[in-house]
C-alpha cells in the first residue's frame, strides 16, 4: 500500500512539473519559432541589402550527397533579379553546419551567414564570432573573406581560403558547403537564362524573368550595384 502511495505522489509531482512546462512552452513556442524566421530574414537582408522580395525556388537540389539545400530563394529588388540565396547544410566538425549563401549575378558570393553551427567554442565556433578576424590588419572575419569571391575559384584552405586558427576541419567543411551552393546556383542561373532566351523566341513568349544574355558574361548584369569586375576586397568588419 505504501509503495503505491509513493508512486502516486511521484506521479503528482511529475504531472505538475509537466503541466507547468507545457504552459511555459505555450508562451515561448511562437517566439522560438519566430526566432529562426527572424534570423533568416535578417541574414537575407544583410547579404542582399537592396532586395525587396525573396521567392522560394523548388526543385533545386545539391549534387553532393552530404550537402542538403534546405531552402533556395530567388532574390529580387522589385522585379529585377539580384541573385540566389541558398540555405545549405553539410557535415562539419561537431555535426551539421547550416549556412546561408548568397550568390549574385557576377558569379561571385554576395555573402555568407551562419544559420546553425555546433562547434568548439574558441575554435570552430569562431566562424560565427564577429570579432574573430582571419586577417587582423584588414579586419576580415572568416565568412567575410568569401564576400565578392568568384565561385570559379578553388575554395581550398591554405590556397585561396584563410582557415580559422586550429580549426582547419571546420574551415574546409564550411568552404565546401559554400562552393557547392555557389556552383549549383550558377548552373541554375545559367539554365534559367537559356530557358528564358528560348522562351523569348516563342511567338507568345511570357515575360521572361531575366533579360536576354549578353555575349561576354552569359548572364545579365541586372544588379544595380555597379560592382566592378575585379575581385572585390572583403568589406571591413563584414560578418
Amino acid at each position: 500500500m505504501k509503495k503505491t502511495k509513493l508512486g502516486v505522489i511521484l506521479m503528482l509531482y511529475a504531472s505538475i512539473a509537466c503541466a507547468s512546462l507545457a504552459i511555459v512552452y505555450a508562451f515561448t513556442k511562437d517566439s522560438i519559432e519566430r526566432q529562426s524566421e527572424i534570423q533568416l530574414q535578417t541574414s537575407l537582408k544583410e547579404i542582399f541589402p537592396q532586395a525587396s522580395t525573396f521567392e522560394l525556388v523548388e526543385d533545386l537540389t545539391s549534387p553532393e550527397p552530404n550537402i542538403k539545400f534546405e531552402a533556395v530563394y530567388e532574390v529580387k529588388s522589385d522585379a529585377v533579379p539580384l541573385g540566389l540565396a541558398i540555405k545549405a547544410s553539410g557535415p562539419s566538425y561537431g555535426g551539421n553546419a547550416t549556412l546561408l549563401v548568397g550568390i549574385d549575378l557576377h558569379r561571385s558570393i554576395a555573402g555568407v551567414r551562419i544559420v546553425a553551427l555546433n562547434d568548439t567554442p574558441g575554435l570552430g565556433m569562431n566562424a560565427s564570432n564577429p570579432t574573430y578576424y582571419v586577417d587582423k590588419v584588414k579586419k576580415v572575419t572568416f565568412l567575410g573573406q568569401f564576400e565578392g569571391k568568384y565561385i570559379a575559384d578553388p575554395f581550398e584552405v591554405k590556397k585561396d581560403v584563410e582557415a580559422i586558427t586550429a580549426a582547419t576541419i571546420t574551415s574546409k567543411s564550411l568552404a565546401k558547403i559554400i562552393k557547392t551552393a555557389g556552383e549549383t546556383a550558377i548552373a541554375y542561373m545559367d539554365q534559367k537564362v537559356m530557358m528564358a532566351s528560348m522562351e523569348a523566341e516563342k511567338p507568345n513568349g511570357e515575360t521572361s524573368i531575366v533579360a536576354p544574355p549578353t555575349a561576354s558574361t552569359g548572364f545579365p548584369i541586372g544588379s544595380s550595384e555597379g560592382k566592378s569586375k575585379e575581385k572585390i576586397p572583403p568589406q571591413a568588419g563584414g560578418k
Partner: protein, 191 residues
C-alpha cells in the same frame, strides 16, 4: 558522418573531459586510485550506451511526433536516473560480484554530466541510431582514457615536489591542461 570519424573525434580529438570540460566532478573526485578510475570508466561506458539506446527512440518516436520536445530535459534525466536504479537492482540480484565492484559508482553516475551530455548531443547533432551508439561508445572510452591518465599522474605526483601554491587541486588542473595540449595533437588524425 562516417562512424570511424565519429569514434575518433569523440574519443580523442574532442575528448569529453580534457577538451570539453564535461564530467569534471568525477574526474577530480575518483582518480585518486587507478582501480577506482577504471571501475568508474567502465560503469560510465555501460550506462551511457544503455542510456543512448533508451533515450534516442524515446525522443524520435514519442516526444517528437507528439510535439513534446520541450519535455526532453525532464524525460531524459528521469530515464537516466531510472536506468541507473534498474541496473543497480539487476546487478545486486544477478551478478553480485560485479555489483560489489561497481556498487558505489552507480548512484554517482546519475549526475554524471557525460551521460547527460551524450544523450542530448545525439539529438542536436542529428545522429541516427547507429551513429548515436558509436558516439556514446567513443565519448565513454575517451572518458575512461582521461580517468586512467589522471590516475596514473596523481600516483606519480604523490612523490613529487609540488610547489606550495599549486598543492591540492590546482596541480591537478595544471596536469589536465598539459594533457589537453597533448590531445590537441590528435586533431591531425582527421583529414
Amino acid at each position: 558522418m562516417d562512424l570511424g570519424k565519429i569514434l575518433l573525434l569523440s574519443m580523442l580529438v574532442n575528448n569529453i573531459v580534457v577538451m570539453r570540460f564535461i564530467a569534471l566532478c568525477s574526474y577530480i573526485g575518483m582518480t585518486s586510485d587507478l582501480g577506482q578510475s577504471m571501475g568508474m570508466g567502465y560503469a560510465v561506458t555501460f550506462v551511457t550506451v544503455l542510456a543512448t539506446a533508451a533515450t534516442w527512440p524515446i525522443y524520435h518516436y514519442i516526444l517528437l511526433p507528439l510535439d513534446l520536445a520541450f519535455l526532453q530535459i525532464l524525460v531524459f534525466i528521469l530515464v537516466i536516473a531510472s536506468l541507473v536504479q534498474l541496473v543497480e537492482f539487476y546487478l545486486k540480484k544477478n551478478i553480485p560480484g560485479l555489483y560489489a565492484a561497481m556498487g558505489i559508482y552507480l548512484p554517482l553516475i546519475t549526475t554524471n554530466c557525460a551521460i547527460c551530455a551524450v544523450t542530448f548531443e545525439n539529438i542536436t547533432n542529428n545522429y541516427n541510431f547507429i551513429q548515436s551508439i558509436v558516439y556514446a561508445i567513443g565519448v565513454s572510452l575517451g572518458y575512461l582514457l582521461a580517468m586512467i591518465l589522471l590516475a596514473g599522474i596523481r600516483d606519480r605526483m604523490k612523490t613529487s615536489p609540488v610547489p606550495k601554491f599549486l598543492q591540492g587541486t590546482p596541480i591537478l588542473f595544471m596536469a589536465t591542461s598539459l594533457i589537453g595540449i597533448a590531445f590537441m595533437g590528435f586533431a591531425g588524425l582527421i583529414k
